[in-house]
């Protein structure tokens, strides 16, 4: 997937990434942590804006910086980088609202062929996981890099 995306920064362990969104609302720093869940080898992917003054992270804020494709491409790049460093892990993601989950689903659908070359991808629906399919509404997503 060769998409235009933002340059990534990370701390040494590659579990927390940062990139800067640029658009009509200015430069907005985004933080992407891969948080350990209670299930060994499964990490929660989230991302949000960093407050420039306090350094606090907010995942509910709507940036409206007209660059959602580029932002999602950068988040996808963090998944490539993280799963290269930690092969075999599972990455779980969901949106903070239904609308955001749909937006992520659309992004996954758009590049599904390319994604499936590298990842096994599942969607959560009706209390279970199923292989991700286009046009189905999911509550969350789970991916594992192929060996």
């Amino acid at each position: 997937m060769q998409l235009e995306r933002y340059e990534l920064k990370a701390e040494q362990s590659l579990k927390v990434f940062e990139f800067t969104s640029e658009g009509p609302r200015g430069r907005i720093s985004k933080i992407v942590p891969f948080g350990e869940t209670n299930l060994k080898g499964l990490f929660n992917l989230a991302f949000g804006d960093k407050d420039p003054t306090t350094g606090e992270i907010d995942d509910a804020v709507v940036s409206n910086n007209n660059d959602s494709d580029k932002v999602l491409a950068a988040v996808a790049a963090t998944v490539y980088s993280f799963t290269k460093k930690y092969p075999g892990v599972w990455v779980y993601a969901t949106g903070s609202t239904k609308a955001r989950t749909r937006l992520y689903s659309m992004g996954l659908t758009k590049y599904l062929i390319e994604i499936l070359e590298d990842f096994d991808l599942y969607g959560q629906r009706l209390g279970d996981w199923e292989p991700f399919e286009k046009g189905v509404e999911y509550e969350a997503f789970l991916a594992q890099r192929k060996k």
Binding site: M1, Q2, L8, K15, I31, N38, G48, I57, Y92, D120
Partner: protein, 58 residues
């Protein structure tokens, strides 16, 4: 006799592995629980359904 074989990286690997610059200022987030609400929700859901039982796309 030992043979050395040079394996060229696949073009797709080169394209997909992003360049990541190290930034020590991000170390402060490493041990913090960020997005705790989301993480709690994920843990709750995983407790119920766990990992996929069905395997992969056909």
């Amino acid at each position: 006799m030992i043979k050395f074989v040079y394996m060229k990286p696949k073009a797709s690997d080169k394209n997909k592995s992003p360049i990541v610059r190290m930034d020590k200022s991000l170390e402060k987030y490493k041990d913090k629980v960020l997005f705790k609400d989301k993480l709690d929700k994920a843990n709750e859901m995983l407790k119920t359904i766990g990992l996929p039982k069905t395997r992969k796309h056909s």
